[in-house]
C-alpha cells in the first residue's frame, strides 16, 4: 500500500558539512513530546514515569534511554522515548518532534562557530 516518505528538516542542505576545524552533522532527534502536568497531578506523572523526578529549570534528566528537558515553567520535553500509557490523563501531552531540528557541531572550531550564532 502507498506510504508517505519522511524527510528530514535538513533536506537539501548538504549535511554533513565540514569547513576548517568545524563539522556539522544532522541528527535524528527521535520522538519528542511536551509534557505539562495538570494541577495536583505532578505526583501521578512522576509515578507513571517510573518514579522519576521532574526536571528543575535548566535541568536535563535521564529517563531510561530518553531524556527529560526542562523547557518552561511547569513543562518539560520528553525526548527519545514515547510517553507512558495513560499520561495524557494527568498532563498535557503534545507531540513536538517534527518541529525540532537537531544537529551536532564538533571540532576544534566548534566554539568559535557558535560564538557567531549565539544570541545576546
Amino acid at each position: 500500500m502507498a506510504r508517505l516518505i519522511a524527510t528530514s528538516p535538513f533536506e537539501g542542505l548538504s549535511l554533513p558539512l565540514a569547513i576548517g576545524g568545524a563539522r556539522l552533522s544532522a541528527v535524528d532527534p527521535g520522538p519528542a513530546w511536551s509534557v505539562a502536568p495538570f494541577r495536583g497531578h505532578e505526583a501521578a506523572v512522576s509515578r507513571l514515569l517510573g518514579g522519576a523526578m521532574l526536571p528543575d529549570p535548566g535541568q536535563v534528566l535521564a529517563w531510561g534511554e530518553g531524556r527529560m528537558i526542562w523547557v518552561a515553567p511547569g513543562r518539560f520535553l520528553l525526548a527519545g522515548r514515547p510517553p507512558p500509557e495513560g499520561l495524557s490523563a494527568h498532563a498535557s501531552v503534545v507531540e513536538q518532534g517534527d518541529g525540532l531540528a537537531v544537529a551536532v557541531l564538533e571540532g576544534s572550531a566548534a566554539q568559535d562557530v557558535l560564538a557567531r550564532l549565539r544570541p545576546p
Binding site: 500500500m1 502507498a2 516518505i5 524527510t7 518541529g99
Partner: protein, 972 residues
C-alpha cells in the same frame, strides 16, 4: 627619522606603502604615523575649519589631527593603522594637495568664522537657506569622504562570555589578567593596540631591572598558555551596557591587505560577570599661540615613538610642560642622541639637577613658527624672550584618566584637585572596578599593585581565591603636577579636530552659553570623531576660569558609547540580504519552486503567489485559472503557516470562552467552530477556528502573521489574567504540515488518502477527526476559506513534502492542481470572508457584522469595552461589498468612498476599501470595505476615488458575500 638602536622593531621585515601617491617605506610593526615620521614626513592633514597644516599629535586612538583614508575607509587614525605591503593611504580635507590647500584661505578669515559664526550669518536672504547655504555648508563640512561606489565592509558579529573582563593591557591590566588567570577564572584581556603592553612599551623605566617590554613578553607568554584566558589585541571595548554586557570592536584584518575570506572587523558583545577597567590615561596638550603646527606633539607620544617604534619627528627637541612627567621625554631624547634644545617648565620651582640640556623653569612657549612644519619656538620666561630652533615640540599639560567607560551608565566623574584630574565615580558601573592610571594611579609600581588588587576583589566576588601577588620591581615616584596654564595670545587650539580655540570658549561664556553642555554645543568642542579626548579637560579648565568657578562645579558633559568610532557595517554584520531576517519555509517549498511559483513573504514565511503554467505570461492569468479550477474541480494549497496552538486541560473550555467572544464550551467533540478574539478595548484582535479533538483537547488556529502575538496573548491570559485556570497552551505550528483541499471534487481526493468515513453524514461541514492519512497519524478538518466544499489535512511535518506532491498529483488527475496566495485571496473575497485587511485593529465585531457572535451570557476579554455606545453607533463604518456599476470598473484597496454627488474631500468621506480583486467567477472586479451605515445602504451607488492611483469608479453597495450566500456549496 629612524633612530638607530631604538624601538622594538629593529630588523623587522620592510614594508612599502604609499601616502598621497608617494611611495614610502617602514617596517612590520609600524603604524602609518610612525612610518611617516620615520621617513621624515610631519605634514599629515589639514584641520577641519581653518585648513591649517597639521601633523600627528599623539601615538594612540585619541589622535585628533592625522586622519587619513585607507583602502576607502575615511577618518582612519594614522596612529592606529598598521602598514601593510602595498597599502594606499590618502590625506583628507585638502585640495589640491596637503602642501597647497586652496581652503587655507579660511585661516585668514579666522576672525570672522569663530565659534557659532553660522548662527549669525547665512541669514539673508531667506530664500537662500535651503537652495544655497545648506548645500554649500554640507559640501564644506566633514573631514573624510565616503566612496559611494565602494562595496560594504565585510564584517562579522560574535558573542563571548567570561568571568573577568580586563579592559586594557598596560601594567595594571596585565597584572589583573595574570592574577585572574592564575586563579582559574575565565578571563578575557582586551587591548586596543596591536601589541599588548600599553605604556610599558613606551617607557624605559626598568621592571625588575630589565627593559619593561621584556616583562610584558613574559606575562603574555604565560597568559597565552592558559586555556582559561583569551587574549584579544586590536580590540577596543567601546561601550558598557546593561547586564554586564560590553560592546567591543576587533580589527580583524584592517592591518593587512584585504582578503575575501577574512572579515575586516568583528563586533563583539562580551558578557562578563566582573570587569576591571585599566584604560590608562590620555595626556593633555597646553594651549599656547600656534600650538598646532606639525611637529608639536604630546610629550608621552614623543617617548612612545622613540622607545616603541624607534622614530623621532625631528632632530632638535624642545620640551614644554607643567609636570615632572615631561622631564622623562627630555631625558629619553637626550639619551637617544637627539638634541634637546631646552626643557621649558611653567613651574618656577621646577628643577632637574645635572641635566645635560638647558632647563628653563617658570617659562612658557609664547609662539611657534613653521607653517608646514615646526622650525622655531618662542620662549618667554624670567630671563626674557628667546627664539629657539626646534623641529619637535613635546608638550605635556598632565594626564587625564580615561574614565569614559566608567561613566557610560550615566554616572559623572569626580574632580580631584590634588591630582588635577577627573576620577571615575565609585560604583558608576556596579560590576566593574577601575585600576591603574584610569583610577588616578600614576606610578608603574602603583599600577601593577592596583591591577592585582582590583582583580583580587573581582575574584573574591566570584568565590575564587586570588593568588599571592607576583609583581616586578618598578618605579614608584609619582610625578609632581603643576597647575594648568593658558598662554595668552591668539590661535591657542584646545580641540584640534574641530578647530576650537581658547577664544571660542571664552566667546561662548560671553554669549551666555555658560554650562559645559551649552559651551560644548555652541563651540562644537568635543564633538568630532575623537570626542574631545585631548581637549575636553583643558576646555573645562578654561571654562571654569572664565566663569570664575571651580572645576568641580563645572563638571563634564555626558559620556556615551562608543569610545571610538564603530562602523555601522560592523554593528549590522550579517544583516544584509538573506541575513536580514530568518526565512520560514513550508514543507512544500521545494515543490513550489520546482513549479516556478514566485514566493511572497507573509510574516517571515514564504508562500507561493501563483503557479504559472506554460503559456501564461501574467499573474492574473494564473490566478484566474486557479480560482476557476478550485470552483470547478479541486485545488491544493499549503496552509501550514497558520498558527496552531494545542490547548489541553480541565479548564481548556473555560479558557476558550474567556478569550473568544463566542461560546466554545458548547462545542461537541469532533467539531470545529469559527471564533472571534477581542482586545481589552473591545476591538477585534484576531479570528480563527478552534477544533475539539477530545474531552479536554482543543487545537486553535490563528492568522499566519498573528500567530506569535496570539500565543503571547494566551501566555499572558493563563499566567496573569486567569492563573486559576488549569490549562496548558503549546505552539504546534511547526509540528504539523497542513494542506487545504478545496473544490467540488475535494472529497474524491481526500477519501483516497484518509482512512476514515468522510461521507456528508459521517463528516458534515465543520467536522474534525484524528485519522490515518496515507498510513501516518493525521488529522482532518472540514473547514473552508474558499466557499467550496473543502478539507484540511494535517500530518506530522516530516511527511509534509511527500504528502503535498501526492495531493497535487491526485488533484491534477481530477482536473485540478495547486493554487497560490493570489487565488486564495480572490476566493475568499468572493465569499466575503474577512482577513486582517478588514480586522485591521480599529474595527469591532459590530463593524464586521458579527455583533451577534459576542455572547451576552458570558464574560470574555473585551466584552465590557465592546458594549460602549460609541462602538455600537449606527453611524459607524460597517463592512459592505462593492461591485462596480460598469463591468470593467476598477476597484483598488485603499480607495475612499463618497456619496455619488459629493466632491471627494476629507469631510465627505463615507468609508474606504480594504480588499479588492478581479473575480473570474463573476466577471467583474469586487471589493470589500467599510461604509457608514453600510448595512442600510445595500443597493445604493457610491463613488470610489483612489487619488493616489487616479482611479474613480461608481460602485453598488452590496452584501459582502457575493457568492452562494446560503453556503450550499460548502455543505455539499
Amino acid at each position: 627619522m629612524r633612530v638607530a638602536g631604538k624601538g622594538l622593531y629593529q630588523g623587522a621585515p620592510p614594508v612599502s606603502f604609499r601616502f598621497d601617491g608617494v611611495a614610502w617605506h617602514g617596517v612590520e610593526g609600524d603604524t602609518l604615523a610612525s612610518a611617516l615620521l620615520g621617513e621624515g614626513v610631519r605634514l599629515m592633514g589639514r584641520s577641519f575649519k581653518y585648513h591649517r597644516p597639521r601633523g600627528v599629535l599623539s601615538a594612540g586612538s585619541e589622535e585628533p589631527n592625522a586622519l587619513v583614508c585607507v583602502d576607502g575607509v575615511p577618518n582612519t587614525r594614522a596612529t592606529m593603522q598598521e602598514i601593510w605591503e602595498g597599502m594606499e593611504a590618502t590625506s583628507q580635507n585638502a585640495r589640491p594637495s596637503l602642501r597647497f590647500d586652496v581652503l587655507a584661505v579660511n585661516d585668514w578669515l579666522a576672525p570672522f568664522i569663530g565659534a557659532g559664526f553660522y548662527y549669525k550669518t547665512f541669514m539673508w536672504p531667506r530664500s537662500f537657506w535651503e537652495r544655497v547655504y545648506e548645500p554649500l555648508i554640507r559640501r564644506a563640512a566633514g573631514l573624510g569622504r565616503l566612496d559611494p561606489s565602494a562595496g560594504p565592509l565585510l564584517c562579522e558579529k560574535a558573542w563571548a562570555f567570561c568571568d573577568v573582563l580586563v579592559i586594557g593591557a598596560g601594567p595594571a591590566g596585565l597584572s589583573a589578567a595574570l592574577a585572574a588567570g592564575r586563579a582559574g577564572a575565565r578571563v578575557i584581556l582586551a587591548d586596543e593596540g596591536a601589541r599588548m603592553g600599553g605604556r610599558l612599551l613606551a617607557e624605559t623605566d626598568p621592571l625588575d631591572g630589565q627593559p619593561p617590554h621584556l616583562w610584558v613578553e613574559r606575562v603574555l607568554a604565560e597568559l597565552v598558555q592558559m586555556p582559561n584566558v583569551r587574549l584579544m589585541p586590536r580590540t577596543t571595548v567601546t561601550g558598557v551596557h546593561d547586564g554586564g554586557t560590553f560592546a567591543a570592536l576587533e580589527r580583524v584584518s584592517l592591518h593587512r591587505a584585504p582578503r575575501a575570506d577574512l572579515p575586516r572587523e568583528c563586533f563583539w558583545r562580551i558578557v562578563a560577570r566582573r570587569a576591571v577597567l585599566c584604560a590608562g590615561a590620555i595626556e593633555r596638550p597646553l594651549p599656547f599661540p600656534d600650538n598646532d603646527r606639525p611637529g608639536v606633539m604630546l610629550a608621552g607620544a614623543v617617548r612612545a615613538y622613540l622607545n616603541h617604534w624607534g622614530v623621532a619627528a625631528g632632530r632638535r627637541v624642545v620640551v614644554f610642560g607643567n609636570n615632572d612627567d615631561a622631564h622623562r621625554t627630555a631625558r629619553d631624547c637626550h639619551a637617544a642622541g637627539l638634541t634637546v634644545a631646552a626643557l621649558v617648565d611653567s613651574r618656577p620651582e621646577a628643577a632637574m639637577p645635572g641635566a645635560p640640556f638647558p632647563v628653563l623653569p617658570g617659562a612658557r612657549i609664547a609662539g611657534t613658527r613653521g607653517r608646514l612644519g615646526l622650525s622655531r619656538v618662542t620662549v618667554e620666561g624670567p630671563q626674557g624672550r628667546q627664539e629657539i630652533e626646534a623641529d619637535v615640540l613635546a608638550v605635556s599639560g598632565g594626564w587625564s584618566p580615561s574614565v569614559h567607560l566608567a561613566c557610560h551608565l550615566g554616572a559623572r566623574p569626580v574632580w580631584d584637585d590634588r591630582l588635577q584630574a577627573f576620577l571615575p565615580p565609585p560604583g558608576g558601573v556596579p560590576w566593574m572596578t577601575v585600576a591603574g592610571a584610569a583610577a588616578g594611579e600614576f606610578t608603574t609600581a602603583g599600577c601593577l599593585r592596583d591591577g592585582w588588587r582590583a582583580a583580587s576583589a573581582a575574584l573574591a566576588d566570584l568565590g575564587l581565591r586570588a593568588p599571592d601577588p607576583d609583581l616586578p620591581e618598578a618605579e614608584g615616584q609619582a610625578p609632581a603636577q603643576g597647575p594648568f596654564i593658558v598662554v595668552e595670545g591668539r590661535r591657542q587650539f584646545v580641540d584640534f579636530q574641530n578647530d576650537v580655540t581658547v577664544k571660542d570658549i571664552r566667546l561662548a561664556v560671553q554669549e551666555g552659553f555658560c554650562s559645559v553642555e551649552h559651551m560644548k554645543r555652541y563651540t562644537t568642542l568635543g564633538m568630532a570623531t575623537d570626542q574631545g579626548k585631548t581637549g575636553n579637560v583643558p576646555a573645562i579648565a578654561i571654562l571654569s576660569e572664565a566663569l570664575g568657578s571651580p572645576v568641580a562645579a563645572t563638571g563634564t558633559t555626558t559620556f556615551r558609547p562608543p569610545y571610538t568610532p564603530v562602523s555601522i557595517g560592523a554593528m549590522g554584520a550579517g544583516g544584509q540580504g538573506m541575513g536580514f531576517a530568518p526565512r520560514r519555509l513550508t514543507t512544500s517549498h521545494a515543490a513550489c519552486l520546482d513549479r516556478g511559483a514566485p514566493m511572497i513573504e507573509a510574516g517571515l514565511w514564504y508562500r507561493p503567489g501563483y503557479f504559472p503554467r506554460p503559456g501564461e505570461t501574467t499573474w492574473r492569468q494564473s490566478c484566474d485559472r486557479e480560482v476557476t479550477m478550485v470552483r470547478q474541480a479541486v485545488g491544493v494549497a499549503d496552509v501550514s503557516t497558520l498558527g496552531k496552538i494545542d490547548i489541553q486541560g480541565p479548564d481548556a473550555a473555560a479558557l476558550l470562552d474567556f478569550v473568544y467572544c463566542n461560546t466554545f464550551s458548547t462545542l461537541p467533540v469532533g467539531r470545529v467552530r469559527y471564533g472571534l478574539m477581542l482586545r481589552e478595548d473591545g476591538h477585534v484582535m484576531d479570528d480563527g477556528t478552534t477544533a475539539r479533538l477530545g474531552g479536554n483537547r482543543y487545537i486553535m488556529t490563528t492568522t499566519t502573521a498573528a500567530a506569535g502575538q496570539v500565543m503571547r496573548h494566551l501566555d499572558f491570559v493563563t499566567q496573569v489574567l486567569r492563573p486559576d485556570l488549569d490549562v496548558h497552551c503549546v505552539s504546534v505550528t511547526e509540528q504539523w504540515a497542513q494542506f487545504s483541499v478545496a473544490g467540488p471534487r475535494s472529497r474524491d481526493l481526500v477519501q483516497a488518502v484518509v482512512d476514515a468515513d468522510l461521507s456528508d453524514a459521517a463528516f458534515p461541514y465543520m467536522a474534525c477527526a484524528e485519522a490515518p492519512v496515507m498510513g501516518v497519524p493525521g488529522r482532518v478538518f472540514r473547514i473552508s476559506f474558499s466557499g467550496e466544499r473543502a478539507y484540511e489535512l494535517a500530518v506530522p511535518a516530516r511527511y509534509g513534502a511527500s504528502l503535498y506532491r501526492l495531493l497535487v498529483a491526485y488533484a491534477e488527475s481530477l482536473g485540478g492542481g495547486p493554487y497560490g496566495m493570489e487565488a486564495l485571496n480572490v476566493l475568499r473575497i468572493e465569499k466575503g470572508y474577512i482577513t486582517h485587511a478588514e480586522i485591521h485593529g480599529r474595527t469591532t465585531a459590530f463593524d464586521i457584522g458579527m455583533e451577534r457572535m459576542v455572547s451576552k451570557t458570558k464574560d470574555c476579554i473585551g466584552w465590557a469595552a465592546s458594549r460602549r455606545p460609541g462602538l455600537l453607533e449606527a453611524d459607524r463604518e460597517q463592512l459592505v461589498g462593492l461591485r462596480p456599476v460598469a463591468q470593467d470598473g476598477v476597484i483598488t484597496a485603499g480607495a475612499h468612498l463618497y456619496r455619488r454627488e459629493d466632491p471627494a474631500t476629507r469631510l465627505n468621506g463615507q468609508g474606504y476599501v480594504t480588499s479588492a480583486c478581479w473575480s473570474p467567477t463573476l466577471g467583474r472586479a469586487l471589493g470589500l470595505g467599510f461604509l457608514r451605515r453600510g448595512r442600510e445602504r445595500h443597493g445604493e451607488v457610491v463613488r470610489l476615488v483612489d487619488a493616489m492611483r487616479g482611479v474613480e469608479t461608481l460602485c453598488e453597495v452590496t452584501d459582502p458575500v457575493f457568492l452562494d450566500p446560503k453556503g450550499e456549496r460548502l455543505r455539499g
